[in-house]
Subunit: 134 residues, 2 copies
DNA sequence: TTCCTTGCAAATCGTTTGCATAATG
DNA sequence: CATTATGCAAACGATTTGCAAGGAA
């Protein structure tokens, strides 16, 4: 169970660490192949799971049935554009109070929460406006 | 595109309508087979989708990669027990304000949200306590 | 040398779909 | 009769896994 160093795991984390677009395993695979052309999809999946278990990355369930990955493990929420599918971060500590609100309405012990917001992203709003103008 | 009546769709909705346990398609299939033994899984999936599109039921993405179904379409949130996997409802209108809070922190247009709470359900809490007492 | 990690391919699992037939309006 | 719905089985897509070979401690 002791973790050993691996070039492919490093490459996967390096690919992910500056991303803000919440890529899927497939996207990570495509990207990392530019560094390590013969890396296999299975290795990508295995390492994404390891990175998650060691707390270096987080998964995001967007609702499209595909798991997305997020290198930002700090407390934040996600916005999903129902028009283009883009996933963006929303940072706002103010809503962490919903955890205690929820506790008041629920008999069990609440330890965490995730919130997903849906709507139209800024980019799509602009495009909508442009299309209406024509 | 006009919807026709079907015995199997009725049976599926009847099975679902009083449930509070958010069953999966597989569970619905098993249950409905007691009424209609030769119903097919495909029919179950197709009708669950129809029921969702007509707004009679809702889907719940719990995080286990399987879609769960909920006959309660009123505004409410969900709690997932990290110990037993049980999915329960949490009703609390007070948090709908998070939508406007989120809007303040985000440049796009937010139209909806879903929130999932995680923790230990009452039943598991009791069992934990009982186990500690021994 | 020990044991973790890899690449490859096959297997799994939830879900979808094509098609000929049955049921509905 | 026109059309929607069904059962069956095959197809799908994302993810997992078994295994023999490679790499790290």
């Amino acid at each position: 169970m002791a973790l050993k160093h691996s070039r492919q795991r490093d490459a996967i984390y390096d690919f992910l660490k500056d991303r803000k677009d919440h890529p899927t395993a497939e996207t990570v695979y495509m990207g990392v192949r530019e560094q390590i052309p013969n890396i296999s999809l299975g290795t990508v999946y295995r390492n994404l799971m390891v990175l998650k278990e060691t707390g270096k990355i987080r998964t995001v369930e967007v609702g499209d049935g595909i798991v997305h990955f997020d290198p930002d493990t700090s407390e934040h929420n996600h916005f999903i554009c129902t028009s283009c599918g883009r996933v963006e971060d929303i940072k706002m500590q103010s809503i962490s109070s919903i955890k205690s609100i929820a506790s008041e309405h629920f008999p069990g012990k609440i330890t965490g929460y995730t919130a997903y917001f849906y709507g139209i992203c800024e980019k799509c709003l602009v495009e909508e406006k442009a299309a209406a103008g024509e």
